[in-house]
Amino acid sequence: MSARAAASAEVGARPEARATVRGAAVRAGGPVLAIVVLVVVFSVTSPFFLTRTNLEGLVTSAAPLLVASCGLTFVILLGDIDLSLGAVVALAGIVVAKLLKTQYWEVSVVLGIVFGAGVGLLNGAVTVFGRIPSFIVTLGTFSVAQGVAIGITGNNAVPVFDEAFLSAFAGTGPLGVSLPIVYVVAVAGACAIVLRRTVFGQELVAVGGNDAASRLAGIRTRRTRLTGFVLAGALAGFAAVLLTAQLGTGIVNGQANLTLNAIAAVVLGGTSLMGGRGSVLGTVAGALLIATLSNGLTLVQASSYLQQAITGAIIILAVLLDRRLR
């Protein structure tokens, strides 16, 4: 839906820009269609599904996933991958929760985001300068981040008592709109603009499409790739802030699914794992699809085990269908 709104808002823009926007809308078409089908099915099976409370809760609880997947889109557009995402979000959440004990919440939040960006820089630097696959690098940082998280917490959750922090990142804003939704809209909008309307965004897509040709065309490809990783890391940090506020604690484990869901969201949104092709709006649609599925299956009282199996099957089917349609 958001993709179509954006597409119609773009009518009258430069022809080539219109073409890319239309391309993005088509790419997001698969998951948008799937969401529509799911919404119809779930509204029939559960009267509670189509209520404002439920839909707001759906997006609010998916906020960390949405923010993290927007960041991951940059990395995947480069043709890279980030397997450390879930572990880094967990670790950054613990860092924020620990900082909140002694620092102002504003300071804790900024440091949490900077921490995420720092891990992104590390991932990017080893990948780019070491010239080794990001799959391997982030497999390594995944293990390291997990180890550090267990090390500094002794495997215990870190509770958060800072009311100001909780209400700033898990509370409701003006008009009774849940604040995480506001953040999601802001982050997704900003990412979409960075990707489509800035030189950096265009260069990122070019580098992901063909690194060697981009270098010959004068793009500083290493800097572009590093920036992509740092941006993704910063957004992982912000996702950690939202998650910590949502849960009221920094937790060590349980974010393994975040990595898988974020990758699935990006791929479902039509971004190619080979890089060079994709959109942020597609990712938003992909993440909402996963969130809708999880919400609806919970409402019809499917066990969390079955939910996991069904989500996996839908991911495979959606990607297959997407391939057939194109």
Binding site: F135, L139, V148
Partner: protein, 324 residues
Amino acid sequence: MVVAAATGTSRASAARRLIGQGGIYGALVALAAGLALLEPAFLTGENLQNVGRQTTLLAVSSFAMTFVILTGEIDLSIGAVASLVGVLVAKCLGADVPWVPAVAAGMAVGGAIGLVNGLIIVKGQVASFIVTLGMLSVVSGLALQITQGSTVGFESDAFRSVFATGTLLGVPAPVWVGVALFGVLHVVLRHTRFGSDVYATGGDAQAAGLVGVRVDRTRVLVFVLSGVMMAVAAAVLTARVGNARPDAGVGLEFDAIAAVVIGGTSFSGGRGSLMRTVGGALLIGVLNNGLGLLDVQYYAQLIVKGAIIVIAVLVDRRTRWNSS
């Protein structure tokens, strides 16, 4: 690969391959020597048996992963397959089915999952990364649903003896299982049409297709092999623990990928060997054992493991691939 030593250049590349393999085994010997000096308990027969038992699971898992990575693909579902098959085998054993048919049924299930993976990847032309990621979710969800999240117990001394507790000539039985699998798979990879198809598919699938390599068939078979091998891994895992948890195999895929890559098999396919993977698996196994003996805490083990994955690949790249 098969016709190495035919020309000067391939002799040079064979030599380079040996030096490359020397790297992983050199590191292994250095690590073992260091551990033996730091901790006398390391070089005892009992501990070495433990290393063997602990490493077999990883080694068997990474054999299958080696084939998959050599074709330029990836299989993220192996840990989940090991969990599901472990649960099924334990259920069979609990119903007094003898261990041979139980494990055979497990292999059939593993192979069937691999077949589905392979067919979707080849026929649907979808990246193996995303297909096996989805399959990971499906299979682990099924394992949890079947057991409702609880552990499955069983009583079978014969099963536990073959895959965990027994010894033959002073060597643990599972190590013999691993060695036998290695022997068979090594021959398959080096001396059969399928084996050379695996290398050709991973090296340059398009060119391989043009010269008559059955690329699609090879890809599907590699995933079937992966599923079947994970049934053996599941047997080793289940027998060692003595029961089957529906999440017992979580993360096994990452450990297996790490072992393959640390061994020096190219992540982009076409270059590598099972011998390298054994080295990589042993390095991780000895390291874990040593860190445990030295009372290094689990979290520090995770950090060390992560660092080693990256460092090994960095060193490997510097010493080998730049020269070719």
